[in-house]
Amino acid sequence: MSESAINARPGERRPVIKARAHRQANIDLTPMVDVAFLLLIFFMVTTVFQRPLAMEINMPEPDAKVEVPESNVLSLLIDADGEVYSHLGSEPVTHLTWDLLRDTFIQQTSLNPELIILVKIHREARYESMVDMMDLLEDAEMQRFSLVPLGASDMAKLDALK
């Protein structure tokens, strides 16, 4: 009984063919399930439920003024090349590396809990250096700092070091 249903003549309706047609109605779902799972896995793997992240910034009022003794002020200067310099109050400016910054913060705040940090960034520096600096400050649990424009006197101090 190797003769297929297509080859059967239309007039001849024998019970054998009926039985065979009944068997063919049973569709094998395995390939469909295979494909479905393949697609499912593909979509599960490629879907990213990603929402952008952010840092929160609270800026002071534009004309807010706070008087602070100079010895309580730690200035961090970032030049156009992204190098960091710091000076405490009116002490001379020293060059720092990014790796040392966190330890410096912790050391300086333990010496003086009233410490206020001013971050002065050169206009031509990369924006990334600001975010890196803020990230470091946040990491060292120093949420209070100010972003101050890098003035001409600071520029002169930086130039004198080079």
Binding site: L40, A54, M59, P60, P62, I121, H122, D132, E138
Partner: protein, 139 residues
């Protein structure tokens, strides 16, 4: 005969569930929208999420161009730096509840970002967010 019938597992519920999941993933999947202004975000350890809707996004790309948009960055409008303050005020008036997000490229010049932040402070938006990517790994 009954023994043979029990060996046949009915896969229909399995197919149902898998198709349901498949349809779920297909419909929820968002293709990355073609970005008119693509930006390499700076990395930070901050894990605060920005809301999906009701945001005003200020984009500064690596070339220093400034754009303003809602969360639909595709519709971003380019701004001249001197128009930034006026535009921020207009958009803040249009979407008073919106969260302001600054989306700067990590290689953008700090001066520009600083100008935008100045404009934000001046337009009575002292609270805003800096969009960042998560910095992975230790330190």
């Amino acid at each position: 005969m009954p023994k043979r019938a029990s060996a046949q597992v009915d896969v229909t519920p399995l197919v149902d569930v898998s198709f349901l999941l498949l349809i779920f993933f297909i419909t929820t999947m968002q293709f990355k929208p073609p970005e008119r202004v693509s930006v390499d975000l700076p990395l930070s350890r901050s894990e605060i999420h920005i809301p999906d809707t009701d945001t005003i996004i200020l984009t500064v790309d690596a070339a220093g161009r400034l754009f303003i948009s809602t969360e639909r960055i595709v519709d971003a409008v380019e701004l001249a730096p001197e128009d930034a303050l006026g535009a921020i005020r207009t958009w803040r008036g249009r979407y008073p509840q919106a969260v302001v997000v600054l989306r700067g490229d990590r290689d953008a010049e700090f001066g520009l970002i600083s100008d935008v932040m100045g404009a934000l402070a001046e337009s009575e938006t002292p609270r805003f967010n800096l969009m960042t990517d998560l910095k992975r790994g230790a330190s």
